[in-house]
Symmetry: C2
Subunit: 887 residues, 2 copies
């Protein structure tokens, strides 16, 4: 019915159907069809509409026992627009329509409240004038202010009936001056004008713009809702309130709410009077209270969710004005779901649908004690949820040092880079002054489950002075600070942290989810610690183990840097040797030296990698672990400023100078204009195959060890940034050889599979060819988003992205929720073409989107096999996957 | 027949069919089917093959009038492999099969040349041993060398018959030692072994690797060609030669060639004897000569192209050993095409097919006088064709200065950047020591038609010392240097340059092309000079006019830099004002200052842009001109080092220091990690809409002016880097408004269209939505290649790309020829989806690929409307488009 009656009309009709006509103030809806007819009739009432309007009004008058404009006991109505979807720019509400100079007296007599009657009339004239005739509101506000000033009062409510009657007269003069017409004394005429104004607002400028931006067809038109007004301020047996069908903070099965006797709904909202609770309502008006409880139950059952209602009691009679699904914190949501199933109110599927999976995040991280107040020093972007407290630390190295001593630290930086990752591990939380939700700090922090407040622009970090300035406050390194990554708050107050735990309610909801979902849920985990957490949160494997993150350990970065310089020296020696071969002046010594250094560097790294893998495989025993071979842009390891020793050697003109110079030259040569599109992923595997070989040997050796221990490892080796099937053919062959040799060396038949990341548009388009040579696909939707949309994740935050969000070119960052028509289309094409070659091809998603409920729904619709997300988001993924499966 | 007979067998069969059996030495082909049967029979001769082989041999013996192994007059044959496609790793040729200890004497008698007979036999044993039995060739080379040493001679040909006979005996001993078997005395057995060896070579390691890399099915198998040997060295009435059906340098209709009497084909190739020309052959052997001329004519007519043949005359009888289409320079190709049509030999379509469109490039640029020799100092990559001479100049600024004084200069740089573009305009040619065909220098040079030699790594530029060192030679700035961009040569010799001109032949070929092609051909041109050249080369409009290139003029870069700093100051002031509005402390002065500076900068630029457009529109009168609004990464204008004034102010601590600091801070903030994926294209249009507005005003004003002058401009305004249809909706609306206002101001109804670049994968995928709001599409395949494959054009040259080409992961750089399965698929999807919305949607291509014949063929197959390429490539585009159209 929504198409015909609009959203609001359909809701009212549904509520009336559920509760019966006596519980919902009567009314009628003029359909969208009438609007369409109005527009095509040249913006006039089409033939018949007048009659139908009269008929519907007569019907409403009959059921209400009052007549519009009746001087003795007038029927008052509200008029509201109601398109199929809520639309800004459409006509506002008009209340109290039905009052004129006569009926205002009837209302005063019937309610015994002359002040109320004139206040209602005054409001009608202003609202009608402003909304229907577009008289600027200051024209009405000025006389009101003047009246208050003259009487020396502050609030509208302090004006007496006489003043309000005079004000009404003034308003009517304003109306006449501004429009050249009298305020319509005939309520029937006023109603027609209001209806026409709603229709006209469909063609207002803001509405047209909104429709264009949101692709809403122009010919939908809007409906108009005319509804009888009820008054909670007519007598002591009247009142208004809001109520929840259950406790809205805990989800406990006791309805809760606020009620104010002898008051209108706006008084409840305004907060000028202190409301009573529902118990007190029960004491005051037991029948209405009992009826309210019954009504809440019926609404819950009908809407299959906890309800939040607005109600009015008019002379003892309960009226429901609105009902909607109740907003509630995550713990209340899981409690409701579990109780509703236990009560037989909802099925598990229905109960799951009532949960906002995204909101569950709040249950998975520590938070500031909600019972404690604290002073917010500044706010940044809520970049990674959870709360943390610790000593201010201004460098990753310092964080690692102090963290190793058992100290709680917060890493505070202007922004972070790949090099700071060791500091993330060591810190309790991260605070940056630049960047937003897609910044490096935010992404890494979310991946590791560290709380992070990013882009807190008032925070000024002075590394030289070892201070942090926030506004007028100067903090020294080592002083305590606390952050709340779900709200962006920063404080120096000592707020206690509350640790998360998965409640019995949540556990039950997760158990249903596991039974109902089709999608697998794995975790992105790079350490044994992450793996253990992922498993405890129910991950069914590791979908992405990033080997380069292992390289960022504090003890390894130098080793890794040295290895890459050696690798590049070797590669250059190899190229040189070839041209020497051609010239016949081959220099084997030079080549052997370079190769020897490279091999030595790899030998030092291999046992470290093996130990890392072994620890992860042990945690994930019996489950699949997908290991991605080295991926990131080379320069992440090779920023010039990291080569301090070499830079020093150069400055000091030491004996080591030539060697330092050559290293720095290599580093300089390897800098790239667009590293995201440069030497990374499988391209590294071709430049320095020995690095990939070392990684494969380490994985296989660790797996063989795990097999020996009975851990049944399931190894998947993944090639990153593949664009051409030939890349897979050539490198796969080499890796299979290495893996088989490693198996022979270990004397173990540990199984392994070799697959590819699909993270470039080209890979999606030629997925049929790649699938011939890959055992599995894993869609890397982060990089796919960067390349498909041409957006650098490192850059977008500060530049045009805010203006794109503001202009609604984007609803959300495409790095948070998958861009279905673009990036999603590539995933669809990739899956379809890959499975054209291999119908049983396993397809996973391991980008950030793997933990986003909206994206999970899309992946489920494509028939993806599993998503892989940050360990902390695994429970969210499980629930979202179930919601996707049940539709 | 190629599938059954293999390439070589099919060619021989075809030549025999055309010329008759008496002109081609007889032979037969064992089909690929036999190979397949051999392999499935467990690598044995399948039943029936022996008999068929005997039969075919008997047939050959009958037609030749000789028998294999006949001691008196033996038939000698060659055995060669012949797969469907030429494949490295397959078996080499075996010659002279049929000789043994008896028949060698028969051959000696019949030829009267004992030395020849033994030399042939010796070669057979070595070839057979090496190829069929895999005896390493040094085993045969060593005794040969020893024999020469003992006799104190240098050349094989100096050995006498006796020595060769002894050497044959030695070879046979080697054969026995290495294989444990005697060299087969029975030629029939030797033939069978040779055939089996060809079959086996199909399963050799190199062949398998090659097949895998090139997706050649394993079950194709190879054919084997057995052919009677003829000898040009049997008598004075014999000889060997090569001939072209026309003059191979000029294309003139006189056959040309080389002939050596009483010699074998290898003597012609070896160059040890000086050949005669065909006239001299005519004098010596008039009948054979006449027959050769007739044969060349018949071959030309049959193969529909100029031919290049190998022939042997054996005792007065002409034999053709091979024919193929003649390689020839471009001027000969167009002459042949024109003559062939005039002679009635070929239709225009056939004639066009004989032209290599790519090679026409040589006719469109100056070249070093081909008649002059010169010393090549070093060679770099042939990055942009044409030759140039000028004074060495080491900076763009200096090039501009000296160029303005009318001096010819060559810009010599380690590499170039956006900032050097003014220098490209001023210089005759560009020489760099780094980068390759896809480097900035190469791309810009090709776009402007400037000769460029890139990546000449031996060239060491020392800007401080103002010297260029090449090997031991040190040149000072100002000294003359010359480059040849088609060969990569660098010289200091004074080689005269020969200017290109479009010959009558070429003009005729272009005229046919224009009649036959379906695709339009436009040019990418940014200046009036380029536009004039494009028009003179037949461009049908400008498909891409890059407005930012106008900004790189020497007098403008400072203006533009100042404008962007002002723009960003304004944007920040605007953001600040909004938060001030919210806080109620709005500072209008500050905002007005920023806005004022921005406006002033735009006002200075607008007349310059308008004049640029006016000049271009005048050159292109009556033709469409597509103007792309500002596109490049912001930082291209804003590299820190360019702000010399500000840096100086900072250093000097002058009064201007705060202002300089703020400018430098802005510049620093705008640096990006991956500029290619950052703030560019339409994103700039949203950040600083005033810049786009200024550009649109300038275009419209220029067009109005042109209309007044009767030039009938056809303006297309193009939005770059579009990803979302909402971007187009919003910016289009704003641009239409500005354009209409500009039209009113100019009092002219000049028409304009607004379209989009399609250069991001996302844009291709949502082309249906974008097409609702765009008047035309232009595919920017350069950027599409970067994002689809994840390749930064600025970075690939030096890093993994060479290794990818070497490993045949790539055949060619995807920036030269479109990557059909990936990037091409996106263009296909974009075209199809765009036209789903608007069947008449105009779709062009304006990337570098628009001038590449192979890519043009693909674009034609998609139904693209036009390609747009560098002015110098327009004639190539016209011919390639015609070739695509005629299939």
């Amino acid at each position: 019915m929504r198409d015909l009656l609009g959203g609001k009309g359909a809701n009212l009709a549904e509520m009336t159907r559920v509760l019966g006509a006596q519980r919902v103030p009567g009314g009628f809806t003029i359909t969208t069809e009438a609007c369409v007819a109005y527009r095509s009739a040249g913006h006039r009432f089409p033939p018949g509409l007048d009659e139908e309007l009269d008929q519907a009004l007569a019907e409403l008058e009959r059921s209400a026992g009052k007549r519009l404009g009746d001087p003795a006991d007038p029927l008052l109505v509200s008029v509201r627009s109601g398109a199929r979807v809520s639309m800004p720019g459409m006509l506002d509400t008009i209340l109290n329509l039905g009052l004129n100079d006569d009926s205002v007296n009837g209302l005063a007599e019937r309610t015994g409240d002359e002040r109320f009657a004139w206040d209602s009339y005054r409001r009608l004239v202003a609202m009608f004038g402003n909304v229907v005739r577009e008289i600027p509101s200051p024209r009405f506000e000025e006389p009101l202010q003047k009246a208050k000033d003259e009487r020396g009062v502050e609030l509208d409510s302090e004006l007496d009936a006489g003043t309000l009657a005079a004000l009404t007269a003034t308003y009517k003069r304003v109306y006449e001056e501004q429009t050249g017409e009298q305020f319509p004394a005939d309520p029937g005429l006023a109603l027609r004008q209001a209806v026409a104004a709603v229709f006209e607002s469909w063609d207002g400028e803001r509405a047209i713009t909104y429709r264009r931006l949101n692709s809403i067809p122009e010919d939908w038109g809007t409906a108009v809702n005319v509804q009888r007004m009820v008054f909670g301020n007519r007598a002591a047996s009247s009142g208004s309130g809001v109520a929840f069908s259950r406790d809205e903070r805990t989800g406990a099965p006791q309805p809760s709410g606020d009620f104010i006797a002898n008051a209108q709904g706006e008084d409840v909202v305004a907060g000028t009077r202190t409301p009573e609770d529902l118990d007190s309502l029960g004491a005051r008006l037991p029948e209405a209270h009992a009826e309210l409880l019954r009504t809440l139950s019926r609404l819950e059952a009908h809407y299959e969710d906890m309800q939040d209602v607005e109600f009015t009691i008019e002379e003892g009679e309960l009226y429901l004005l609105q009902t909607r699904n109740a907003e509630r914190p995550a713990q209340a949501a899981v409690r409701f779901a579990r109780d509703a199933v236990a009560e037989g109110l909802l099925t598990r599927e229905q109960a799951l649908r009532t949960i906002d999976a995204e909101a569950l995040d709040a249950l998975l991280h520590p938070v500031f004690d909600p019972g404690r107040e604290y002073a917010v020093l500044t706010r940044g972007v809520a970049a990674s949820p959870g709360a943390a407290r610790g000593a201010i630390t201004l460098s990753a190295a310092e964080a690692v040092r102090r963290g190793a001593e058992g100290e709680d630290v917060i890493l505070v930086r202007p922004f972070t880079e790949a090099d700071d990752v060791a500091g993330f591990h060591a810190a309790r939380g991260i605070l940056t002054s630049q960047g937003g939700k897609a910044s490096h700090a935010a992404l890494v922090a979310r991946g590791m489950g560290r709380p992070c407040v990013a882009g807190a622009s008032e925070v000024k970090v002075d590394e030289d002075a070892q201070t942090v300035r926030i506004g007028d406050l100067e903090l020294r390194a080592g002083e305590m600070i606390a952050i709340e990554g779900s709200t962006g708050a920063v404080t120096t107050d000592e707020v206690p942290l509350v640790e998360p735990e998965i409640s019995d309610d949540f556990r039950e909801v997760l158990a249903w989810s596991d039974e109902l979902r089709r999608l697998g849920v794995r975790a992105n985990a790079d350490t044994a610690e992450d793996a253990a957490r992922a498993r405890s949160f129910g991950a069914e494997g590791i979908g992405l183990c990033r080997t380069e993150h292992m390289f960022f350990g504090a003890d390894r970065t130098d080793l890794v840097r040295g290895m890459f310089v050696a690798a590049e020296r070797w590669r250059r020696a190899e190229l040189r040797r070839r041209s020497e071969d051609a010239n016949g002046d081959r220099d084997d010594d030079d080549f052997a030296t370079a190769r020897g250094e490279f091999d030595a560097a790899l030998e030092r790294l291999e046992p470290l990698q093996r130990a890392d893998f072994a620890a992860i495989l042990h945690e994930m025993r019996g489950l699949p672990v997908t290991v991605r071979l080295l991926d990131p842009p080379l320069h992440e390891f090779l920023a010039l400023e990291h080569f301090e020793t070499e830079l020093a050697a150069l400055a000091a003109d030491s004996a080591d100078r030539p060697r330092a110079t050559s290293a720095l030259e290599i580093v300089r040569d390897l800098q790239e204009a667009n590293p995201m599109l440069g030497t990374r992923g499988i391209r590294l595997g071709f430049l320095y195959p020995q690095v990939y070989e070392m990684q494969v040997r380490a994985v296989i050796a660790a797996a063989a060890e795990a097999t020996g221990a009975g851990d049944l490892p399931e190894i998947e080796i993944m090639l990153p940034l593949v664009a051409y099937e030939t890349e897979v053919i050539q490198l796969r062959e080499r890796m299979v050889e290495v893996a088989e040799r490693a198996r022979r060396d270990a004397g173990s038949e540990v199984p392994f599979r070799i697959g590819t990341m699909i993270e470039l548009p080209r890979a999606c388009l030629v997925a049929d060819r790649i699938a011939e040579h890959a055992d599995f696909f894993s869609f890397g939707t982060n990089d796919l988003t960067q390349t498909a949309i041409g957006l650098s994740r490192d850059d977008v935050e500060g530049s045009f992205m805010p203006s794109y969000l503001e202009r609604r070119i984007l609803d959300r960052s495409p790095f948070e929720t998958i861009d279905v028509p673009g990036v999603g289309e590539l995933v669809r094409i990739g899956t379809e073409r890959g499975r054209r070659t291999d119908p049983g091809l396993s397809c996973g998603v391991c980008g950030e989107h793997g933990g986003d409920p909206q994206s999970i729904r899309f992946f489920d619709s494509l028939g993806i096999d599993y998503v892989s997300c940050s360990p902390y988001r695994v429970p969210i993924g499980r629930v979202a996957a179930a919601q996707a499966a049940i539709g």
